[in-house]
């Protein structure tokens, strides 16, 4: 929108598990400052696409570029190498060996479809631990508290982040004792603590009621401007998606079937067919909930 510089570019990504093609030749771009959504029926390969970007899976084919640097490419031997990966290299030299931690260090943070907080930790510690990756201390200086300045700064930053996101009042509570909506918010807070420039949200509104969803919409907008983020998200709530997205990509059976602004997507016959089923065929029951939401639009 505002700037055309793309921050994330997926190029011909194909991800195959045995005979199943989960993602089929997917190419997409996220520009700086944009909120881009990836939608599609269940099992369309959205989360797999996320996992390719974050280095969980090595793609069967294709490459991912972040800020103009190639961060992921098809690398059949990667899995073997990962097991014996040596020192922590922030810059990929020579060949790419992306692991999720390296990708996060580059500035891509993510949340999970099913909340994955560190369950035995307090709200404060959950965010504080996420600051670990920006450390400059080694294990000796950390043990003997020679890094107390950094530690203090991390704690201050964490407190500030929690204040901005409205979680400061519950900072000493165990994260599992929070209500569902706040746990989601905490997961986003934790992702923000890693100082990302691109935030990947995997179904942030899953299981939320309409009021919570509306709050979340404002929340995502706010953090986008406050933290100068680009947001790339997977979502099923069509209200949220149509309201917030600058652009939308639609996946079906791993393949991209449409892309464009929310208005274009809403009127695209292919998308309607994918969600509602073809007129002649009987509809697939698994698509039903989304069909209803589409009608609600």
């Amino acid at each position: 929108m505002a700037s055309s510089k793309n921050i994330l570019k997926m190029e011909n990504i194909t991800m195959q598990f045995g005979g199943v093609v989960a993602v089929d030749n997917l190419s997409l771009e996220v520009n700086e400052g944009e909120i881009v959504s990836l939608i599609g029926p269940n099992g369309a390969g959205k989360t797999t696409a996320f996992n390719v970007v974050t280095g969980v899976y090595a793609p069967t084919n294709g490459a991912v570029w972040f800020n103009g640097n190639k961060i992921v490419e098809n690398h059949p031997r990667r899995k073997m190498k990962k097991l014996y990966a040596g020192k922590d290299k922030t810059v990929f030299n020579g060949h790419l060996e992306p692991t999720p931690d390296k990708i996060t260090k580059l500035g891509i943070a993510r949340t999970f479809q099913n909340i994955r907080l560190w369950k035995s930790q307090t709200v404060f510690d959950n965010v504080l631990i996420a600051k670990h990756l920006r450390r400059t201390s080694n294990v000796f200086s950390a043990t003997f508290r020679l890094n107390w300045k950094e530690e203090k700064k991390q704690r201050e930053e964490t407190a500030e982040l929690l204040k901005i996101l409205g979680l400061y009042d519950v900072k000493d509570e165990l994260c599992t004792s929070l209500p569902y909506g706040l746990q989601r918010r905490l997961e986003i807070a934790r992702a923000l603590a890693t100082n990302p420039t691109l935030l990947l949200l995997d179904e942030p509104a899953a299981g939320m009621n309409p009021q919570e969803t509306a709050d979340l919409t404002d929340f995502i907008r706010r953090i986008r401007t406050d933290f100068h983020l680009s947001v790339f998200m997977i979502e099923h709530h069509m209200d949220l998606v149509m309201d917030i997205s600058d652009r939308i990509y639609v996946l079906n059976f791993g393949a991209l079937i449409a892309q464009g602004t929310p208005d274009e997507i809403q009127n695209n016959p292919d998308v309607i067919a994918a969600y509602l089923g073809e007129a002649e065929e009987d509809t697939d029951f698994s698509d039903k909930p989304y069909a209803e939401e589409e009608e609600a639009e």
């Binding site: 999720p100 907080l117 930790q121 950390a142 043990t143 530690e151």
Partner: protein, 355 residues
Amino acid sequence: MENTNKKRDLFIGFGLLALLFIVLVILEQTVRPTSILFTVLKKGAIYALVAVSMNLLNGFTGLFSLGQAGFMLLGAYTYAIFTIPVEARAQVYQYFDGGAIQFTLPVIVAMILAGLVAAFFAYLIGLPVLHLKSDYLAIATLGFAEILRAIFQWDKLGVITNGSNLLRKYPVFKTSTFYFAISGICIALIVLLINSTYGRAFKAIRDDEVAAEAMGINLAHHKRMAFTISSFFAGISGALLAMFQTTIQASQFKSAMTYEILLIVVIGGIGSVSGSCISSFLFIACSEWWLRFLDNANLNFTSIQILRPGFRKVVFSVVIMCIVLFYQKGIMGDKEFSIKGIAGFFKKLKSKRNK
């Protein structure tokens, strides 16, 4: 307010530690040195250290490893080999022409070296095995410990390890304050590590590996670090054990030893340093001292026919089963021993009574 409270707690904690040491010194002056009390205290201190080091791995990093006896063996042997006086070597290595090593290191240097050797081997074995999950890691490390035990009894290495014969005549410390000081320092270091940013990362790995990796924590690096550090302290406790026993032999570092340590960790509470310390003293006291009377059919006042040598082990097992049944999370759970906690406990008791 919060800060002053913290400072006060720290102050009281140090005060209690100082008190403990004073009591220990007084005990050493008054009780006769052959008393079983000192055996329990020394062995308890050693086991506390190794239990805490195992807890660092099992309780705080979530790596289920059973190699602790192997790393203790490495530490014990390293200490013994490098500190036997040169003039005593001919006698100790009588079947191997006095052995290959003909120099001695100062005690403290040898102890640190014991830890480093254990850590080095842990690093090497960690490269291939640390990507294994839970039970498989336990099997691999257990196997490693058993292999070490076999290798150290191998005749061909006899010039260094003295084969399957005893190592002895190395310097030992008789005072239990020494054991307390060394293991106290080591446990303090582990606690400092656990509360540092790295310790928090370990806990994150324990709670959710996938999330930890997604938040930028390098799993391989951190797991290897926890494994190496844990083995370092296991090595030092091995050196302490060598001193305590005055002689060592590879055949005593059986997997049963690892299970004993694991039992201490579980009884104390997985994820609680103070739990491990408390339970190691209780464990050693029970197995060495308090249940001794069960081995003897003729008590002072009466004689019970069912009591016979070995009977204490039966009772001991029952006691352990009861503890595991009634305290499923161990004595301390994953909480730490704290002044605040005790104060809270008494307050609760009081309010209950008032009701």
